[in-house]
Symmetry: C2
Subunit: 277 residues, 2 copies
């Protein structure tokens, strides 16, 4: 999928919502725990209930790897389910990979060939040769960590680089933007960092930005929408726990839909204000 | 395993060799490709042929994930094989993980509980809360990327931080060393960076340092041994391709043993010179 196709979907659904499938076995309704692939059963009902409100889903690999082979089977079934029923939807592997070139090449092949994800999140610490293998697949994306939404972002991402005294994460965006283009490279900027989002938007006016950290982590949808939107929307805003665990009963999918609907309605408003729909 | 136990093993084997199990399906001898778990069959024979010469093994996850469920089964069987036959050996998951706290907690549990690895390599970019969950398991280790051996290390790790104008990787070591101690925190410093290894050793005189990048990547064993050793040895030097693919025939294990033996003999010399054995 390229940037234009993603924007088309955003306009059609009046939404730039990405739903994070941080599916925690311990938080599942009891009725699902007895199934052979409980994470998949949960995800399937979440996706079925929200697919007209979300343009992307983002399973976080930690939750699947933690359950071993059965967890990874749930992941594969989830990707295949979305791909076959809702082919327009963008699927992001939140895996935060990054290794020397020959290893990154294998990770890229695992996520793009074995699983058919559209995108993988990648950590920038090891530099160009650790990221470029993810940029070599047509219509696939690397989503590079720039400024994350967690407390630990303070430790290194905000270290000022000598010379212009700009924070490391800005340097990461500036240097890495030449590695790819706006059809294969996206950036993570946490929703808790709206003031910095504006500055990053100036460095990469055309690229999509993936914004996690709404809800449980405290980011404001209005602030990041105002700070991050460009003429093609240019942002995906992720909500995980606040949507998928909105209701803990066996009707969890209806609760998730209601939570997603509430976000989508506000997104439609921001898209209208920006005259994008 | 703690640092003292690791040093005991180093003295006993006169070796600080870590063998990287970057087991590439496409490089296996044909005779193994027909097996149900070819990566495991290869690893088992490599380990059996070299276990008296190496103190650690380091499977790189990319090679196993790339083969899906069968690859991960080979990984699990490899860890279990080493653990049950050679319980003194240190096993490192070269996974380069790192995510917000609740996700890193799941990764730590996957590698330390499900798989029984002794250590996991972790990327520092997301800061303290992404690393600390790996430090909460008794006798388990986080191996934090400081300065890597690849070209891309130049892109961000060498960026000078304002103020003291020291490179980012030094800042990473300085800040992170308080997160753990010399029994649960180790650092990666590439063998291609011997001149910097000395400076890092001054910041962390007591910690173990894992040094990849010998052989195929061009580092010098003598240089890194001189620059990195402390009074408890304090270094593990990794060789991957140069050992495990030393011989491409069906007698690959004998070839690997000869390559490992050659390295171990030199290591014994450096340990003697340093009066550690």
């Amino acid at each position: 999928m390229n940037a234009r196709q993603l924007f088309e979907q955003i306009k059609e659904k009046s939404s730039y919502l990405c739903i994070g499938l941080d599916t925690d076995f311990n938080k599942l309704p009891k009725i699902l725990m007895e199934k052979e692939y409980p994470l998949f059963e949960f995800n399937k009902r979440i996706v079925r209930a929200t697919s007209d409100l979300a343009v992307a889903y983002k399973p976080n690999l930690a939750f699947y790897e933690n359950l071993g082979a059965a967890g990874l089977m749930s992941l594969e079934m989830t990707v295949n389910y979305i791909r076959s029923h809702f082919p327009e939807i963008f699927i992001i592997a939140d895996a935060k990979r990054g290794d020397i070139g020959n290893s990154s090449r294998l990770y890229a092949s695992a996520f793009f060939r074995n699983y058919d994800f559209d995108a993988v999140t990648v950590s920038p610490y090891m530099g160009a040769d650790s990221v470029k293998p993810f940029l070599e697949y047509p219509d696939k994306w690397a989503v590079l960590l720039a400024l994350t939404s967690n407390e630990g972002a303070e430790d290194f991402q905000f270290q000022k680089i000598a010379g212009k005294r700009e924070p490391l994460f800005q340097k990461v965006v500036q240097i890495s933007k030449s590695w790819g283009n706006e059809n294969n490279l996206m950036y993570v900027v946490g929703a808790t960092q709206a003031e910095w989002l504006k500055k990053i938007r100036r460095i990469i006016p055309e690229h999509f930005i993936l914004i996690p950290g709404l809800g449980a982590q405290g980011g404001s949808l209005e602030e990041v929408s105002l700070a991050g939107m460009n003429s093609q929307c240019g942002i995906l805003v992720n909500a995980s726990r606040s949507v998928i665990y909105a209701d803990s009963t066996s009707k969890f999918d209806e609760g998730a839909r209601a939570a997603a609907q509430e976000i989508q309605t506000r997104m439609a408003g921001y898209l209208k204000n920006a005259r994008l729909i």
